[in-house]
Amino acid sequence: MNPVSVQPRKARLVVVGNGMAGIRAVEELLKMAPDLYEITIFGDEPHPNYNRILLTPVLAGEMALEETILNPLDWYAEHGITLHTGSRVAMIDRVKRRVVTEDGRVAPYDRLLLATGAAAAIAPIPGNDLPGVVSYRDMADVAALIRDSGLGGEAVVIGGGLLGLEVAHGLRARGMGVTVVHRRAWPLDKQLDARGGALLQRAMEARGVRFLLGKESAAVLGDTRVRGLRFTDGGEIPTDVLVMTIGIKPRIELAQAAGLQCETGILVNDTLQTYDPRIYAVGECVQHRGQTYGLVAPLFEQAKVAANHLAEYGRMRYQGSVTSTKLKVTGIELFSAGDFMGGDHCEEVTLLDGGQGVYKKVILRENRVVGGLLYGDTGIGPWLFQLMRDGTDVSAFRDTLVFGETHLGDSGHAGESQAARLADGAEICGCNGVSKGSIVKAIREQGLFTLEEVRKCTKASASCGSCTGLVEQLLASTLGGFYDSTPKKKALCGCTDLSHQEVRDAILEEKLLSVRQAFAYLDWRHPGGCATCRPAVNYYIRTAWPAEGVDDAQSRFINERAHANIQRDGTYSVVPRIYGGVTSPAELKRIAEVAERHHVPMVKFTGGQRLDLLGVKKEDLPRIWAELDMPSGHAYGKALRTVKSCVGTEFCRFGVQDSTRLAIELERGLERMWAPHKVKLAASGCPRNCAESTIKDFGVIGVDSGWELYVGGNGGMKVRAADLLCKVKTHEEVLEVAKAFLQMYREDAQYLERTAPWVERVGLDSIKAVVVNDLESRRQLAARMDFALSQEKDPWAEAISGRLDIHAAPLRRIPA
């Protein structure tokens, strides 16, 4: 007998909506049950599925449209999916179980998946349909905006939420003048408190975006095309383009017309089924347990659960999501989750560094994180979010909470990347819910080497991209030396787009000899610079051109300008140089007399073995310096501070080397050295290490056969034990290596980067290569250091002799 092979008809799945949630559900389904369904997809946009999130980088010109395509047409073909683009489903016939499109196509289904997304809400004001009024939702909108912005002119954005700020950023990047109109007192009020909002506003304003806050729109002005906007207070603003980003509206018309229960969205249960069990729904169009979502992370979770049921596994349930948000405006880092305002029964932990533009706030309720916002530095976002979702009791480490996990009970160590220290379960990519463990596993087992490969394979950082940094860290820590990341560029400050390195290169190549010249030549946004760039650029000029470069006092921090350390009450402290910490009775007497004569409020031994005269008025500084007749101890500078010493062979019964003499030689040899940050040295006479050489920028320990030289130690906010650089025999060698190492640091480190992070960044081996192994380059570095030092004079002596004006006295005294 010839058996007739009866091919059982495959079940038919129809998907309405060719967008992010719908296609994610299909992808998940294909993973679990590749052959179960014959799949037909309808999308009313003319494109295959693309990454909607990336529309902002496209608008801003940072990315091409094609790069946003997630599933090219080939993908549909490969999986035997019938795709109808540019085709809108007009009706669901639940009785006959089929959908009908506007252009008359009919498709029967056994299961239907609704993923119709949402549409931009339009303000119900007169004129809202005029040409030139645009929403910000899809590729067509972006294409229209790119076209309109080509003419330049003015744009007004109504709504200062995430989308509003992103579109403002994008239009600004395209050269338009942009004003954001927002009804609340600060932008992004759903994600930020007043203080964070103000920081953000300032950062956006620095990029040229203007704000009109507390304004309610009343009417769009114009006859044939938009020409302005009127507010309820009667005010008006002219504009060529008007973008409305006031919110989104789930697209429920189709479901509603088919008799499915809807409120704000299409109602679904925990298996993502609508009231008709054959019809599933996922994405922005659904309402689950009273909640609708407008971010991809929860939608992808829904997609997974819906796919699980469509694949007839029937195991997973969707229980709702906790979400966090980020803003995708290049150069502005922002993270916000949960209850970030706080209030009754809540406690706040905050950190604010206005200078660096960093603001962190964590809200606790009964010692558990219930929300938080991070501005400027969002590195701890994933960890914080994890604590929040896990409901972890944080009482044990709440005082270091804002510094992140790296600070947990280990003020003792620095150095490792943040991602390396996260637990395996920690979520790295919030959009796609990918944990650290699964990324590391994929890198190892599938031999991934690049960011692109990790994205493809795990989806981590493939959506909004804001976890890219963490993923790169994981690549680096998992692959070790194999990972080659082209370092991303970070602007020196808000006055320029150039990085520290680019500014440095320009100073060398173009021989820029003063801060003003550099600012002018490099097109600084503010001709006067700011508190961040002025000291940095001045330092770079002085290092590049020690002889010719102008040292601009007004580009030095107050301490370095006054050559004394300013105190909280505006007085100063005076620390004379006492080489190696070794003084004499005569010197002590003189110091005592000066202190007494001037009624110095406090005389104190410092942690660096020197004497500090505290509480001196600026006017008295020159006289005190003159009477002390000692060189400046530079205790106020990003400069050589002290060389600490111990007793050594001279007196100590254990000493094997003369550490006191070496300390004095080092301090004399490096005196007046300016550096990216302060530099501290120490010399100990034996491995008992009483001078604490192993937490110094450059430390020396005497051993029987000579000296061990250590570098990159730090005893401050983050303790780091120094690394052994090499062993040498003579004092001369110690001095030469010290000079070479410090000159390399001076020429390479970023301003305000101490040796500890710098050594970690460039790696000990690269330092050894030039400072230890290559005698010629060591000699040259030391010679450059000597040359630079020879250009520096003792500032106190200069001030006493009248060659340096520290403006000690007031400009005038006006009598009553």
């Binding site: 103000a198 604010l352 200078g355 603001y359 503010h526 006067g528 002025r534 300013i566």
Partner: protein, 106 residues
């Protein structure tokens, strides 16, 4: 209003400042890149830092103690900080700086 001669503009370092002692306390004089001069009380609204020692750029002075930024035209701390500092009128004639002081209320 009494106008007091303070001296030549050159005595105030560009992008920086000096202060004068007056019967009304210290007043900071700050000079920007366009040689505009601003006068404000020499006390930062944060914790009293001497603004005459700050970095000046455009209409802003950065306080030397904790880097608050003060708008010199309005005398107000810039967001995210709050606070204000009294401003005084300044005139420049032939490179000479004049400071306007109100008669002090008795």
């Amino acid at each position: 209003m009494e106008w007091l001669a303070l001296g030549s503009i050159e005595e105030i370092p560009a992008l920086g400042g000096r202060y004068v002692e007056t019967p009304q306390g210290q007043i900071a004089l700050l000079r920007n890149e366009k040689d505009e001069i601003f006068a404000v009380r020499n006390r930062c609204p944060h914790r009293g830092g001497p603004l005459s020692e700050g970095f000046v750029s455009g209409h802003t002075v950065f306080c030397p103690l904790h880097n608050w930024q003060i708008d010199l035209e309005k005398g107000e701390a810039m967001a995210p900080d709050h606070g204000c500092v009294k401003t005084f009128p300044v005139r420049i004639e032939d490179q000479q700086v004049w400071l306007g002081l109100e008669e002090e209320a008795p």
